[in-house]
Amino acid sequence: MESLNEIISKCEDLSFDLNFTRAKEWKSQDQSRVLVGYMPIYFPREIIHAANGLAIGIMGGGDKKLIVKGDAYYQSYICHMPRGIIELALDNHFEGFDGFIFPSICDVIRNLSGMFKLLNKGKFVKYLDYPQNFKSHIGGTFYIQEMEHVLAEVKKINNVEITPERLNHSISLFNKNRKLTEEIYSIRDAAPWKITAADVYHIVRAGLVIPVEEHNEILEKVISLLNQESGEPLDKIRVLVIGAFCEQPPVGLIRAIELAGCYIVEDDFLLGTRWIQGDIPTDSNDPFRALSHSYLNNSTFSSSVYDVDNPKEARLLKLASERKVDGIIFAAPSFCDPALLDHPILQQACIENNMRYISFLYSENTGQFKVIKEQVGTFSDSIKLWD
């Protein structure tokens, strides 16, 4: 059996393979297979799976892709991630992808969908409008229609008809994936010294670019190996990191936070993989309705979702208390309107509830972490001192 380090190293390679080698290899084994790229945050990958496809999470070029052309497409005051995505597109990293999904999370992603259309990328480009109305017969119905539009595009390519059985089966695989991912987070919650946040990040991120069946196997192995680990606890504070749900922080930044005296026991990196809370029913005659119901009622909170009836500050504090964190780190990409517009609301709730926090900005290609490390180090020291 592979060691934990071997698995982590494999996941790290997969996570940052900007040529999507494994996905393309998977597609090449069967002519009716399709590859559909999707942007952050959440996309119901189950529907593509059921249509004999693989939905691939596109998270930008991170600090692995030099931006040469992308800057000509964006002004300096727009976040970094879309430049990387355009750069990847223009350099043909998405060769062999059949379509692209742009979930409705912000105006930048929305307009990026138009740029992909103008660039004629893929056989289809779909901006997926998530309902901001949460009634089943209004927003729910609209969401089902949106999913059906995606599938109609896929069907034009491979002629695969989705049956309830197929979709229920796909849902069960992703339920398992979410459960296993949560289990790893629970292990870190109970014993964060067993595995670093950066390693968990790689393990989860690998799942964006490989078939779910393979990822489930990886997760199972990791859990079994982690259960055999004991490790040595260190004197670190427990923190929750929020704001990093779209443009991803460089892994160096995640490491810097932990090296500066913190255990990250909760975060919103790769939030889409943990978006749906709990299982989606797998015995429905109408699995689209089941997916829609889960989206409307069992989604996590996020800056891209209208929240007035279920305020996100209360949900953040609840999560912080469940994870028994000592403090919250607000880490958002520069120029990220959704994340940054939420900060005053969330931070006010922290103040009112004596939850200590710090806040900083990053960019996916930030290379220097000295200042952030000092800031986090001071934060962690001050919490240790007060306690």
């Binding site: 000509a72 497409y73 964006y74 002004q75 005051y77 727009i78 879309p82 409705s104 999370i105 912000c106 105006d107 930048v108 929305r110 307009n111 990026l112 969908s113 138009g114 740029m115 259309k117 103008l118 779909k126 901006y127 409008d129 309902p131 901001q132 109305n133 009634k135 017969h137 209004i138 927003g139 119905t141 609209f142 229609q145 539009h149 800056s303 891209s304 209208y306 929240d307 007035v308 520069s334 120029f335 990220c336 309107d337 959704p338 940054l340 517009l341 939420d342 900060h343 005053p344 609301i345 931070q347 006010q348 900005l361």
Partner: protein, 423 residues
């Protein structure tokens, strides 16, 4: 430049309309009129008026604060309480105004909201904006109207049905509760009949730039022309009267062969005809405008004057289908169009209005406009072989208005246009 700038009748009418609205707002609590805060794109004031309520537009308050040099302090105050430097300055200006007592640009207190109508059209920041205001006014209900994006180049029956259901089950019940009045479809239809007439006038007015010289500036003066329809008068009799008057005045200018009116009088020699994409800067509006009219540059079309509705492609409200019309109107606002549609629309403007150049004013605050603008520019340059120019500023944050930078860039752009004209 001729210096005689007697106020036209339409200007006087507009001034009276706006001051009456502000007067009604300032006495709303005494008169018992309910106040609805809402946004310009997806501005369904016909529905608000049909319930006898008064609209308030935080964007318009913000831009007015910018023009009256009050925005810098408001933005600074919002940043002091944790708002980031990186986000939309309209939101910060509005928050700053509210935490300073909600005194509007004209010095009168703006009444507190009785309802937030979050007509969430073409911009995600709207949602964040009212989520923020909801924390300042926790007891005020929010009616959310989610406008689907025209991602696939069209409005589908499903999109319309989704919006109509929201209107029926979310927006109208909340308006009935807040106003104490029942939904009255006949009243709404009457308002829509007015809107339909106004939409025709607006299109005719902006079409007069086909003339050479253009009788109007469709950007700097255009923002005044769209004032009434965007600021709560959609659906009113006054709006019909105002646009009728304005149209006649402009026709007269056409007959006399006159160019546009500027703050320094009539522009006598039209040298360049431009189409502009992006909102204007408000903090230095006059200086900004002067940079154009001093050079004899007239704007013959602008995307910004279409944020509150696009009528160029034939859309008009249909009073006989009132809720469907409101839905389709929202979906047809400029920032709810996908980039391909924006390119098509701008291309049509450049061609129809015989523009010599295309200019982007890229606004730091506004991802809804700015993200993708460089690509729009590339596309138009390639398709139409037209000179393109690019400047940057902000809506209401004076820190991002660099006069010399903009002037230099514009001078190079005008030189390029000049050279082009020689060949």
């Amino acid at each position: 430049m001729s210096k005689d700038i007697a106020k036209e009748k339409s200007m006087i009418i507009q001034k009276e309309m706006i001051s009456r609205l502000f007067k009604d707002l300032s006495t709303a609590k005494e008169t018992g009129k309910k106040v609805v805060y809402t946004f310009v794109p997806g501005n369904i004031s016909e529905l608000i008026l049909s319930f006898g309520m008064l609209p308030v537009y935080p964007e318009i308050n913000a831009l007015q604060s910018g023009m009256r040099k009050k925005s810098a302090d408001f933005i600074r105050d919002a940043e002091k309480i944790g708002h980031s430097e990186d986000v939309c300055t309209y939101v910060k200006c509005d928050v700053g105004m509210m935490i300073n007592g909600n005194i509007g640009p004209n010095g009168e207190k703006i009444p507190e909201p009785d309802l937030f109508l979050l007509s969430y059209t073409g911009c995600f920041t709207f949602m964040k904006w009212f989520e923020t205001l909801k924390r300042l006014y926790p007891d005020v209900p929010v009616a959310l109207l989610h406008t689907p994006y025209q991602e696939n180049h069209k409005v589908t029956p499903e999109m319309t049905a989704y919006m109509v259901k929201q209107l029926k089950e979310e927006v109208i019940p909340k308006m009935e509760k807040v106003s104490g009045n029942k939904y009255d479809e006949e009243k709404l239809k009457a308002c829509l009949r007015n809107s339909s007439k106004v939409e025709d006038y607006i299109m005719k007015i902006f079409d007069t730039t086909k003339n050479v010289p253009s009788p109007i500036d469709a950007y700097f003066a255009g923002v005044y022309y769209i004032g009434p329809i965007n600021n709560g008068f959609r659906g009113s009799d006054e709006a019909v009267n105002y646009y009728h008057e304005l149209y006649n005045e402009i026709l007269e200018r056409v007959n006399l062969g006159l160019g546009p009116i500027t703050p320094e009088g009539v522009m006598e020699k039209e040298r360049f005809r431009l189409v502009v994409e992006g909102p204007p800067n408000w903090t230095h509006f006059r200086e900004f405008w002067k940079l154009f009219y001093d050079m004899g540059a007239v704007i013959v079309a602008s995307s910004y004057t279409k944020v509150g509705g696009v009528y160029d492609m034939g859309f008009r409200v249909n009073p006989e289908k009132p809720l469907e019309s409101l839905a389709e109107y929202c979906m047809n606002c400029y920032t709810n169009l996908n980039l391909e549609q924006r390119v098509e629309l701008l291309s049509k403007c450049i061609t129809d209005y015989k523009a010599d150049g295309f200019l982007v004013n890229s606004i730091k605050s506004c991802n809804s406009f700015s993200a993708g603008q460089l690509m729009i520019m590339q596309q138009l340059e390639r398709q139409l072989e037209i000179p393109v120019g690019f400047i940057e500023s902000d809506l209401v944050d004076p820190r991002y208005f660099s006069y010399s930078n903009i002037k230099n860039r514009l001078e190079s752009f005008f030189q390029m246009l000049d050279q082009r004209k020689m060949y």
